[in-house]
Symmetry: C2
Subunit: 193 residues, 2 copies
DNA sequence: AAATAACATGAATAAACACTCATGTCAACA
DNA sequence: TGTTGACATGAGTGTTTATTCATGTTATTT
């Protein structure tokens, strides 16, 4: 028989996850300790290990959650786009707005490069591959120029991620519309006269 | 009187620096210990502290060295460019080739985000500001379109850095010419038909 | 009410690691 | 040749920290 969820601590796991996201954002993976996370979540150190096998285990969980959220956010944003150009604008805009709301994402994602290179590679490969597929389809429709979709996908991900990190997270730029407009100029006509 | 350089250990400092770059590349700043660096350099742990005040001190030294090298590499590459478009191509190509030779750079640079956000911000701000200045001049000459040079500089740095990290370092792509060509297509005409 | 098992605790453990320091070595100069 | 001081050593120190575990506590089932 399936035992109903106890009421002891309500959403303890969820509280640990939120606390970890916050601690990793503030102090990073190596700088943030299990004690920091447990304190922030309002539980004892040992409680952490009821819900996660290890610090790395929780980190991997968080990383995959962020991947899901970004994908969901993007696919909702572009679902009604009339063409690829519009899809690109909407996708970029929604990503910038997502970053504005949750500025911890790069601290979680990019640190994977230092925890295990494969985590970083897998994370972005997933995005790049599905992006490249979309671009290929758009090329067949004649909406996108003849550019290696693999390279183009990394170009687009590179632009959005790097600009978001530097302009929005580090420089605290709030005007995402302006940034989207300027980025779209490049994507539409290039940068040269 | 200036004492001539002793011959005890030849270029001990240089060996420590090289070892550190390698260790940080393999294991990251937090994952790589002073013992790792000392072993790799073939010196005792204590010797490290004759040449550097702390692990962080060495890290900052390495970071600034990479900044200098990249700037030097780029300014040499573009010095004979006839116009901005050619300068862009040459700059990107030389950066990719630099990364191909010294794949540790991103592990050094990007980790600053987790050691001290200001280090990362300062590092890329320096590049972005001088890049933006160059772009402004090119805009006055009518060579570059009317795009916010601040945003454009981050777009260009984002492309080069992200593509280099993913394609060259992580996917071990050797054909930099192909990548440069595809990137230049976007910068010349945008990505849409 | 007793039994059960999930949930929770936090002190204890063991390993890792940045940094120190007392001691040693060697090249240059008086 | 003896003195000097830079260069080098590596065992030791103190701290931090991920993880464990013996011991509670509470909600549910019998």
């Amino acid at each position: 028989m399936v035992r109903p969820k106890t009421q002891r601590g309500i959403d303890t796991k969820e509280r640990i996850i939120r606390a970890a996201a916050n601690v990793f954002y503030q102090k990073g993976y190596y700088g943030g300790s299990i004690s920091d996370i447990a304190n922030e979540a309002g539980v004892a150190n040992g409680t952490f290990y009821i819900y996660f096998d290890s610090k790395l285990d929780l980190y991997k969980y968080l990383l995959s959650e962020y991947g899901k959220r970004i994908r969901a956010n993007s696919s909702i944003a572009i679902q009604n786009a009339a063409n690829r150009k519009e899809a690109e604008r909407l996708g970029i805009k929604s990503f910038f707005e997502y970053v504005l709301k949750d500025q911890s994402i790069f601290n979680i994602i990019w640190e994977s490069l230092y925890i295990d290179k494969n985590l970083f590679d897998e994370f972005y490969s997933t995005f790049a591959e599905s992006y490249a597929q979309q671009l290929k389809k758009a090329q067949k429709k004649g909406e996108v120029s003849n550019i290696d979709p693999k390279v183009l996908s990394y170009v687009l991900i590179g632009i959005t991620n790097f600009v978001a990190l530097n302009s929005i997270v580090l420089k605290q730029e709030k005007n995402t519309t302006h940034i989207v407009n300027e980025v779209m100029k490049v994507l539409e006509n290039g940068m040269f006269e």
